[in-house]
Symmetry: C2
């Protein structure tokens, strides 16, 4: 009998784990340097936590189960409900603004496809309790900070920014009732995800007038500075629309001052599919062969209140390890997995006293936090050398009769091939010092 991991999930053998940790380490350090604190919740929540946020339709997309008491749970498919629940529970005690990040493992019962697995890791950045454009700007800055830190530049990605309020104003001006907006956002969000024919069919099913339809189809065309100018004409004379546009211009001004203006672009075509976004919406887009969203988010209003907390708005985004890895692989920006250990200690197996010294040196090295290993087999020096070489260690230390007689070891640097004889103490003083500096 033999088993594989479930379809749509991954086994992380050490080289895979190295890459996963490399991405997670960058998520964490970028979060920290921008002043975000890490939180996490359980891998499963009461099913109602997801139902209350997304409706009954979500249940089919979840892995859900009962405990012996008949309570219904589901593995989390996203982090936002947990975040809102945790903030709601301590809303008064937490000092504002709340700047939190998380790197949850998430599961979705969907059919696996490129960039979308049944299990993945997500980086979540959120700022709650602060409504200013500055919070929006900082949230976007964190995303750009990460993408630039891993070596990506504006030729590899673009952060597309829009305002739901602005879109709502334009739809309203076209005579569309606000209770239709959520359905329209869901269709607009599919614009770049389905073919043109399919998209026009979806628009057709919204039962809009001819004029409303063409307004909708034109909306997505407004991009960049030229698009902003076009939108300006559309909202002229509509105070709410003018106000939304002013806020959006303020945001772009802040992004410029933060030095990430060249990564960011106004895009009226970005609305994001989720119903709860109320203000700025953002989507990072991967260029090159990927041509897909690599991060998304926006300002949300009602989530904390939904979970029993106060009326507190937030801004956040999320990205997944799967799309980030795809993108970095394409541009050859992922690191080579590092070796398992820095030092390999070899003994002359014909003299049992040597092995005692191997253990002594290994223990000293480990106490200094150097990664040190030795062979479990007392075999000849050549064979042990071969093992050290296969493990890809940086340095080999040989314990032989010179060691037992004069407390010296031979230290060999595997990259340069240089070798030197040293007193044990001098070696242990700085075991990875360049050979020529001993």
């Amino acid at each position: 009998m033999s088993f594989q991991c479930p379809k749509g999930t991954r086994d992380f053998y050490p080289p895979d784990m190295y890459v996963r940790n490399w991405i997670a380490d960058r998520w964490r350090s970028i979060s920290h340097r921008n002043g975000f604190e890490e939180y996490d919740g359980p891998i499963f929540e009461y099913l109602d936590v997801f139902r209350i946020k997304s409706g009954d339709a979500i249940v089919g997309e979840l892995f859900h189960f009962q405990d012996r008491g008949g309570r219904e749970f589901a593995i989390r498919p996203e982090m936002t409900p947990t975040l809102a629940r945790m903030v709601a529970a301590r809303a008064n005690a937490l000092s504002k603004p709340i700047k939190w990040f998380s790197m949850p493992r998430l599961c979705r019962a969907e059919r696996p496809q490129r960039g979308r697995l049944r299990e993945f890791f997500q980086w979540n950045i959120d700022i709650l309790g602060e409504e200013s454009a500055l919070a929006d700007a900082e949230c976007i800055f964190v995303l750009a900070d990460f993408l630039r830190d891993v070596g990506l530049s504006p030729e590899h990605f673009e952060i597309r920014i829009n305002s739901r309020e602005l879109v709502a104003n334009i739809l309203e001006n076209a005579g569309i009732a606000p209770d239709r907006f959520d359905a329209i956002y869901a269709v607009l969000d599919k614009r770049d995800k389905v073919d043109e024919q399919h998209f026009e069919k979806m628009v057709g099913e919204l039962h809009l007038t001819q004029n409303q339809q063409s307004a909708l189809l034109q909306l997505g065309e407004a991009k960049g500075a030229e698009g902003l100018a076009r939108v300006e004409k559309l909202v002229l004379g509509h105070p709410a629309g003018e106000e939304s546009l002013t806020q959006l211009r303020e945001l772009f001004h802040l992004l410029d001052r933060m030095g990430i203006g060249e990564c960011c672009r106004f895009d009226m075509g970005v609305v994001r599919g989720l119903a709860y976004y109320t203000g700025v919406v953002i989507e990072a887009f991967g260029k090159g062969g990927l041509q897909r969203a690599i991060a998304g988010g926006g300002r949300y209003g009602r989530l904390v209140k939904l979970m029993g907390g106060p009326d507190m708005s937030g801004i956040g985004f999320a990205t997944s390890d799967v799309v980030i890895q795809d993108l970095l692989t394409e541009f050859n920006l992922l690191p080579e997995p590092e070796t398992a250990a820095d030092l390999f200690i070899i003994d002359d197996a014909s003299d049992p006293a040597c092995f005692d010294t191997v253990l002594e040196i290994t223990t000293s090295l480990r106490q200094q936090n150097h990664s040190a290993i030795f062979s479990y087999k007392r075999q000849n020096i050549g064979k042990q050398f071969k093992q050290a070489s296969a493990r890809g260690v940086r340095r080999v230390v040989i314990v032989d009769d010179k060691t037992t007689q004069a407390r010296t070891v031979s230290v060999k640097d595997m990259a340069s091939g240089k070798q030197i004889d040293l007193p044990i103490d001098a070696f242990l003083d700085d075991p990875l010092r360049p050979i020529e500096e001993f």
Copy 2:
């Protein structure tokens, strides 16, 4: 409507997350310095993976569910089946010995109690493909290395070591059939976990002869060097038993040479409940108020083969974040959570030009990987100072008219209260340098 996390799970607010990460970081660094490589698998596996290892009875202890295709899965309650599955799948390609660690999130559908939650994190250390006592010794060394690294000493814990082979030999000498051993191990394992009356009742239910019963009750009494001497008499003249004892003595000899002899003790009472252990069994025991097992493991034989791989034995142990945190809390060895940011940049809000410099300085600091934050509100310097103080930052930087006129900032060290005026560039050159060294 308000929600809590499911019973037996935990929300990790930033201070809790800090402690969880602190423990995980130590697990990871101790693993690395001992030459172990990290792996992981999915959070859920095919239910059969657990069933084939532990039998049908395990299903009731799992959170299990089906996907739309009717495939049965369960959230992993332990890591060993995943480890064995992954090793089995690539047994030939992986170079031996396989030294792997993992820090999985695990879930069990059991009733929560002290030290046992429905969701927890576990540190798993395993060495596969190597049968020598040296591998056993190194596995035990890693456990001791961690416990000592977090500040624990032999007064706080003890690693109890036994040999299943030795116990089997003694049981066999007492005339007990080998097919009864697993049932007996399960009872012996309960010895320190139930009261004496309950334990004697369980022994009674094994239907042994009077002599066998008293042999069993005496077994657990053999501890330390004196216990080893007692066991020596029991196995005298039984070659298999003598051989097992010799191996165990060799293991203790190696532990002494590795410098952890004082943490380790022979204890015939330790058998561990799991049926698959074949050789050495180990259990770390927390002293003080805890008085319970804080880690456990042993040598196992058939797991990799069960998952379709070759006949490969391994030695491993596991411990959980819950017991480690309980133990470190008792001995006051957990760290204080660190602050969210190192530097807080304050502006004179009456001059809009100052805020541009705040953004410029913040961005420079972050690019140097310093954690830097600023107020989202343009309020007076006193209020911003208060916010910086509440965030517990190490250093406050003030941008005011001196900055706009002469490109200098005031830098205040929050611990010492010392303040100095500096050119921006001199400050950015080494932003956390002691004030007196500028």
